[in-house]
């Protein structure tokens, strides 16, 4: 198992190299000049061509692409992701400063989505074609179709403007965490409910479930001990992907709720062509996804004994 984990972590190196190169290339290809943007942010005046050219040299943007990439790679290997063009702060610090807020809302909303979707999906599968199943499927369809910003406004209107129960926006207390988490959770829960239902329906048709029933086990035992665990595999996969996405920031929800996370910061950095932040973020996201995938793979091992054997050999 340790060897397996070590191998997966080692896999990070080529993955990160690949995505950093991709991110670097895309930044270089995108229209826009960071030097021009910085000067424009610093003053009301459109900068002169000479000033832009001077700053490009200062930022090292005049160097050829491969050289810039190699320089960045060298620094990144030492843990130095450079400084944000916009804010002047070290990229690593800037990301680390905003990540806790993002992680807070990502973890809470993922747990909330799980708490909603798991019982609903199971109940829906067990009571297939019953009213509760129809209701759950409609909810899943509506939930998955709702744009997050729209849902956010509806929730604010209900709970902040109407009932005055929760703050409209901001960060700092548990109350502030509720609406952004619920907004993100509802969309995710809808998808996970559908997935749980369909996956469980498939498992419920398997031979080993029929055998368990034939042995005279009760319905609860059959589902809880036999059907649910293997049925969870696709759900865990989807959950992992969702968590990875959320840890990389949810810019729209962060903007609506004035949540000081990583998402809006990065979107603004993209608008301003803040290359060091963009590169740092891509690297960071790559690490997050690889680690979350690793956790998902380990969860498979826990869920499915057959995978455990494979992992043990790995």
């Amino acid at each position: 198992m340790r060897r397996y984990i070590a191998r997966r972590i080692l896999n990070l190196v080529p993955v990160l190299l690949g995505i950093s190169l991709l991110a670097f290339s895309l930044s270089a290809l995108a229209p826009g000049d960071p030097a021009l943007r910085i000067l424009r942010l610093q003053s009301d005046a459109p900068p002169t061509r000479a000033a832009v050219a001077k700053l490009r040299v200062e930022l090292g943007l005049d160097a050829p692409f491969p050289l810039r990439y190699l320089r960045w790679l060298q620094d990144a290997a030492r843990g130095d992701l450079g400084e944000s063009y916009r804010t002047g702060e070290p990229v690593l610090r800037a990301l680390a400063l905003r990540f806790p807020a993002t992680a807070q809302v990502a973890v809470v909303s993922t747990l909330l989505a799980l708490v909603i979707s798991l019982p609903l999906g199971v109940f829906s599968a067990v009571r297939r074609n019953a009213p509760v199943d129809h209701a759950s499927r409609i909810w899943a369809l509506v939930g998955a179709s709702m744009p997050s910003f729209w849902l956010a406004y509806v929730l604010i209107l209900m709970f902040s403007v109407g009932l005055r129960l929760l703050p409209v926006a901001g960060h700092g207390t548990l109350a502030h965490l509720v609406l952004p988490s619920v907004t993100l959770a509802l969309g995710g829960a809808a998808t996970l409910t559908r997935l749980t239902r369909s996956s469980l329906l498939e498992t419920l048709g398997e031979d080993f479930v029929r055998t368990a029933r034939a042995k005279g086990l009760g319905s609860f035992s059959v589902i809880a001990r036999h059907a649910l665990q293997p049925g969870l595999i696709p759900v865990v996969t989807a959950l992992g992907i969702r968590l990875g996405h959320l840890l990389a920031g949810a810019a729209i929800v962060e903007t609506v709720f004035a949540w000081p996370g990583i998402g809006k910061f990065v979107v603004d950095s993209i608008y301003d062509r803040d290359y060091p932040v963009i590169q740092g973020f891509v690297l960071f996201t790559g690490i997050v996804f690889v680690l979350v995938n690793l956790l998902v793979d380990l969860a498979y091992v826990w869920i499915d004994p057959r995978i455990r054997i494979e992992a043990g050999r790995g």
């Binding site: 229209p31 021009l36 002169t48 604010i156 209107l157 902040s160 926006a169 903007t255 609506v256």
Partner: protein
């Protein structure tokens, strides 16, 4: 966010405004505390003022730092930390400083603080006032001479901008959480707390030299989303929301307990026509085409339908109030589609089979680039203008740039005929915008993409040079008006569409608020909370 999505969310908010039951009138606390929802925290390490985002519209900059000269609501100059000023020749202004003023840390305000601040400004680039190291010279404790590094008699009108706010000597930029780095000015409010991305709190300065602020405490909450700011106001979580979207303003006005106020005109919407474009963006070189464009856009309809009357039709790009009686020099262009057709006919542009005019086998087809400062704020003006121009036989293809960087790149390459921009006036120099955008003398200090694409040439440049060198304010206004007339009436390079307002929403409890046309120069000292 796309226009469609934006439309949806506006519909949701408007529906919510109409549907939610307004809360009953609350008995306000006697505390003089105000919560203001402002835009995103545009944090950046400011080499002059420290580790705090201080220059947002409606933001706290003006409450903490004061400028030597203030900008009045009619763009007039008013004494600030300087009580008087005079031009003493040789590109130098002498300012007499106010006595008895202290910084928030107790330091006395003297000429040393002015020198220290201006030297810092020089290190940070010098700004539009072209300040260099040593530009500020101490004459005595309360007299200072300021000499820009290039001919610039407009200094006094420029230093009203909050970026020239005076900072306490020997306070250093760095994390504002550390007392030594705390942004320290002389303003009516002093900084209490700054939580990045969340809030900035100030409290009334009891030692303020001027009229004491009536508010004890103000919390500026960073809310990047305009709809959230409005919802915060609706929920009473905030007392004040800046930059209310024009689509919501009229509906919000009907909400009990909330007032909507509009500033005098301080911003504009305009179309610039490229006159120095390269193929295929060369049609703007022809004056008849530019004149037809300016005649064919119904500005009153744009104000009505796009700005929902939160703007006025303006014949100039800059606020007309800045030009005084000389405003009449700028005539502006009436909406006259028949005249537009006639001008095009006379220039040889004849309608083709699909109604779009042609000349010498070339279609009258123009690219309209939209994206400064972002594409959203212009919508749906480009589409409306497209329809109007089609009526006279001009085809317009709209190019929406995804962000301002892309717009700037497009501008740098000159790939477009019509450039839709919104801007604002934050200082008292009426020549600021024409100088900045259209002065094009080769090798000039501010040679930039705008001048290269739109600059009318030597006659205009000479007017701007008079602007830069005259010490007579009346002459300045007259020349600024002449420069505007050249751009708008004679050459039709600039099509002013509207002068727009800052729209702000506030609780009825908030009293004494006078909206400033320049959001950056908004003052708060007269504001109080009623019972």
């Amino acid at each position: 966010m796309t226009g469609k999505l934006r439309g949806m969310l506006v519909a949701v908010v408007v529906a919510g405004l109409a549907a939610t039951v307004p809360a009953g009138a609350q008995t306000p606390a006697a505390k003089q505390e105000l919560v203001v929802a402002i835009g995103a925290d545009t944090y950046r390490l400011d080499r002059v003022r420290g580790d705090v985002a201080l220059s947002r519209v409606g933001g706290p900059a003006k409450s903490i730092f004061e400028t030597l000269v203030r900008l009045g609501r009619n763009y007039q100059l008013e004494p600030g930390l300087a009580t008087s000023w005079e031009f003493v020749g040789r590109n130098t202004w002498r300012l007499t400083l106010r006595r008895g003023v202290r910084f928030h840390n107790g330091q006395p305000f003297t000429a040393a603080a002015v020198k220290w601040t201006f030297d810092r400004i020089a290190q940070a680039g010098g700004g539009t006032a072209v300040i260099g190291e040593g530009s500020a010279k101490i004459v005595d404790d309360f007299t200072v001479d300021i000499t820009p590094t290039a001919p610039n008699v407009r200094l006094i009108e420029q230093i009203v901008h909050p970026t020239y706010g005076i900072v306490a000597p020997n306070t250093f930029p760095g994390p504002a959480t550390e007392a030594a780095n705390r942004p320290t000015g002389t303003g009516p409010f002093r900084l209490v707390e700054y939580v990045r991305g969340n809030r900035l709190v100030v409290e009334g300065n009891p030692d303020y030299w001027g009229a004491k602020p009536r508010l004890q405490r103000m919390t500026f909450r960073f809310m990047p989303d305009a709809n959230t700011r409005v919802l915060g106001l609706r929920s009473r979580e905030v007392d004040f929301a800046v930059a209310v979207p024009r689509e919501i303003a009229n509906e919000l006005e009907k909400t009990p307990g909330i007032r909507v106020v509009r500033s005098p005109v301080g911003q504009y919407e305009a179309v610039y026509i490229a006159i120095h474009g390269k193929e295929p963006y060369v049609l703007g070189r022809e004056k008849a085409v530019r004149q037809a464009l300016s005649l064919a856009i119904d500005k009153a309809a744009v104000v009505r339908n796009v700005w929902q009357n939160n703007a006025i039709v303006s014949q100039t790009m800059i606020p007309a109030s800045m030009l005084g009686e000389h405003t009449r020099i700028v005539k502006g262009t009436p909406y006259d589609p028949a005249a537009a057709r006639r001008v095009l006919e006379e220039a040889g542009w004849r309608p083709g089979p699909d109604g779009i005019r042609e000349k010498g086998g070339r279609r009258l087809s123009l690219v309209m680039v939209v994206g400064f400062p972002n594409a959203e704020i212009h919508r749906p003006f480009p589409e409306l203008a497209q329809g109007m121009l089609r009526q006279v036989g001009i085809e317009v293809r709209i190019l929406i740039t995804p962000d301002v960087s892309s717009y700037e790149t497009q501008l740098g390459k000159g790939e477009g005929d019509l450039w839709v921009e919104a801007g604002n006036q934050n200082d008292a120099n009426p020549c600021f915008l024409p100088d900045l955008l259209f002065y094009s003398k080769p090798g000039a200090r501010q040679e930039n993409e705008y001048g290269l694409l739109f600059g009318p040439g030597p006659v205009f440049d000479r007017l701007i040079e008079v602007c830069r060198t005259t010490a007579d304010p009346e002459r300045l206004r007259e020349v600024a008006a002449q420069a505007m007339a050249l751009l708008i009436d004679q050459e039709a390079i600039v099509l002013p569409i509207a002068g727009t307002f800052n729209v702000l929403g506030l609780s009825e409890r908030v009293q004494g608020f006078l909206p400033h046309p320049s959001g950056l120069n908004q003052g708060w000292e007269a504001v109080w909370i009623s019972n």
